[in-house]
Symmetry: C3
Subunit: 353 residues, 3 copies
Amino acid sequence: MSDEKQFSVGELAKHVDGELFGSEAVLVSRLADLETATENDVAYVEDPKYFATAQSTRAGCLIAPQSFTLDPTIDEESKRSSVIRVPRPKLAFAKIAALLHPPKQREPEIHASAVVAPSANLALTIYVGPHVAIGEHTQIGVGTRIEAGVVIGDNVVIGSDCILHPNVTLYDGVTLGDRVVLHAGVSIGADGFGYVRDDMGYHKFPQIGTVVIEDDVELGAYTCVDRAALGRTRIGRGTKIDNLVQVGHNVDIGERVVIASQTGISGSVTIEDDCVIGGQVGFGDHIRVLSGAVIGSKAGVLPGKIVRPGVWWGVPIVPLDEYKRRNAHLGRLPQLREEIKELKRRLDELEAK
Amino acid sequence: MSDEKQFSVGELAKHVDGELFGSEAVLVSRLADLETATENDVAYVEDPKYFATAQSTRAGCLIAPQSFTLDPTIDEESKRSSVIRVPRPKLAFAKIAALLHPPKQREPEIHASAVVAPSANLALTIYVGPHVAIGEHTQIGVGTRIEAGVVIGDNVVIGSDCILHPNVTLYDGVTLGDRVVLHAGVSIGADGFGYVRDDMGYHKFPQIGTVVIEDDVELGAYTCVDRAALGRTRIGRGTKIDNLVQVGHNVDIGERVVIASQTGISGSVTIEDDCVIGGQVGFGDHIRVLSGAVIGSKAGVLPGKIVRPGVWWGVPIVPLDEYKRRNAHLGRLPQLREEIKELKRRLDELEAK
Amino acid sequence: MSDEKQFSVGELAKHVDGELFGSEAVLVSRLADLETATENDVAYVEDPKYFATAQSTRAGCLIAPQSFTLDPTIDEESKRSSVIRVPRPKLAFAKIAALLHPPKQREPEIHASAVVAPSANLALTIYVGPHVAIGEHTQIGVGTRIEAGVVIGDNVVIGSDCILHPNVTLYDGVTLGDRVVLHAGVSIGADGFGYVRDDMGYHKFPQIGTVVIEDDVELGAYTCVDRAALGRTRIGRGTKIDNLVQVGHNVDIGERVVIASQTGISGSVTIEDDCVIGGQVGFGDHIRVLSGAVIGSKAGVLPGKIVRPGVWWGVPIVPLDEYKRRNAHLGRLPQLREEIKELKRRLDELEAK
């Protein structure tokens, strides 16, 4: 949603370390897909099944894999796009996107309607939007952008170049690293869900720990990360979490983990580096997911489990192969039943003899 | 929650094109259910199993189906209600409700605490509540009501007679049609969840498309509709979505679709017109749900599937009949096992002979 | 996140009615776990498998069960902690936590940026934070704390000593009891999800009832409680609900119920007192869960069911024992298939003779 800048195809080829075919002077400023792209656009193709479509794209700049060869006939006719060949076109396209569409820039400003506690320590170059509230002793680093309606408690530490989208809530005492992106309404530091029961009802188990979000983490809209009971809840560097995800108290998520929408993680779960978790997955408490495990959408993991590397599906989880086998067997149950009836009939006959 | 207006039963009968029995002058002003209704209330009965209850309701006006006949004895005693007979009482009741309880009206006003960008283009007759923020070049149509704490980005287009409940977030560049209702905290236009991995970690795949919400759409509290990567995410005219639903990037939802709470829809899913989707359903990416399909709550649909018209249940989905059959077979598994044991015993015996 | 107060171990022992071993003069001010505790901290042990760890804790005060005996050798060396013995250490620890870490206190104040309707009736001793909006005829009781960005509609009643965390939305006409805690972004009173279809599309079924939240209820971040169609939605005294839970219209939840994250409850469900509901559970409409039932995470309950006391799992729910049995049978399906093949082979042989 930012203003357009123009780049020459030559600059882009250099940026992604690609091999350029065609004029390097062509100017482009936007991204598009193969079908809708025009001469001002960059498009990409990676899967060979779209090579034919890519041949006829009108994109000014096409990013393609090394196995992609230009069809000279079409080229003649269409005065078609320059092509940049790279080993991983989608990745190169993402890098070019970051150049063409950098995040929205805001001039440094503390909006007049923002309420900032006197003891808060804000870097000079930050943007604080309308109706933001910032608590006592809170620190915010350079280049951070805080959009309208965000509420930040006391004793919060926020690094540099973060983006807090509208209506985010940071409770007291939580910590964000650098380049953290929080989408609309993310909640960090609400009380974990822990109670002790007696005859009268439930007493809150203390929820007095904190939350640490490391560098380059991105959290989707309305994702909730609860405060630790004691100690801390942690989300590791470079981890990306989708919308409406629940992260319970004392959860420890490693680096470069990906978690899709609406997954729920109970208290004291550990998810190690480089795991990939689908959407609507449920984790009981005290689970440890070992580095490199992949858990399919809608899976359920029982409390206390250790999940080894590999691909896991189902409720409760089993290895993907076994899940498929079970499902196939399930589908064949009516047939199995018929086979048993047939065996019984044959046995009856034999016995009758 | 609006002020009460009084209507005569005659007016109501005309409004729903019904057949009136009893006095047309009776005045009513509120809605109630059969048991708690009093002379000032309208109640309805549709299911014959509640006809007995309906005979003794004290409602001033009863909406009933054509098969409902008054019991004259009871009528004598209770000086009971006027009755309006219509083919579809629940529908008539809903139409009368819209008359008796119209949405809250607000006098046109831009609250002094609202922050409106100078280039925003607001119709004269809108209401903008306290602590609202409205960005540059945003347009808002006549009769639209924007409640407290709503944050609207730059280049947003909002039609006429919309209601945005408190703390809604609209990101830059999204479009709403007319009569759109967004409940508390709806988020429209956050980045879709797409990344490309290299050795260093994850790079954001560009999320620079937009979102279009068509006329008469209603979205529940904290429902999230993500921005398209390229192109647009769309929710079609007259579609109704419940609370806490996730709509991923580039999803295309048709007209008059109904989606219950906590369902999650991954990127690039198409749901055609007139589908009905239960709660807590999960959709993998690139699914196409054909017009008229019904998907039961908690179902899971695998990526890339085409879902034909009919009723679907389970994870992964199967036709409802098959789902029931499988569940019945599942319940009989222990018995099946016993039968196999018995067969084995008989075979052992036979072989021993 | 509150300031530290110091208490003597003697005071704490009295507070929890425990048996004190060691000096009663030791001062402590914080909570910690066994491993990280230092002389200023209180820690607890309940499970005998941690008794060894507890022997060597450096906590100034250890809460332990009556079966825990001090090892005098270690005691000599480490000048170790005073010990308070109680029947239920975790409960005593929670009670001490409430003493050491009381909820944050705010001086009574109506922040200058808050917008309060002239007819609202606020007790003198409440705190209203920045950018709060409070509607007409709304009443708020003594000691209640309303954090930044909260939006409260017209005709709302809020009891005393409640805490409304940032960005909560209360729609018109809802009622909260005393000591209610609402975490960030809780939505109370949005329209229930009910429509009636005709040829043109969907008409809203009237959603004009209300919501009553009784005393001592705590609701997690972004939990949604919808307004009743007619009548009221109710959450009973002492009930605790986690983040991102959906409570539909006309739901009636009893007292001391516990519901974990991301569970969804459809319209007109009744959950009686003292039930325990896991996370990501789905309830169809018009279910009645009888007092004392326990429903496991990710379970699904079909519309109209009556759920009796006991422990229930699965989709659709079955008693836990049966769920386990079914799962075991499922795992053995491939083997079952082999057994049937073997039987067939033997039958073939017999028949051939």
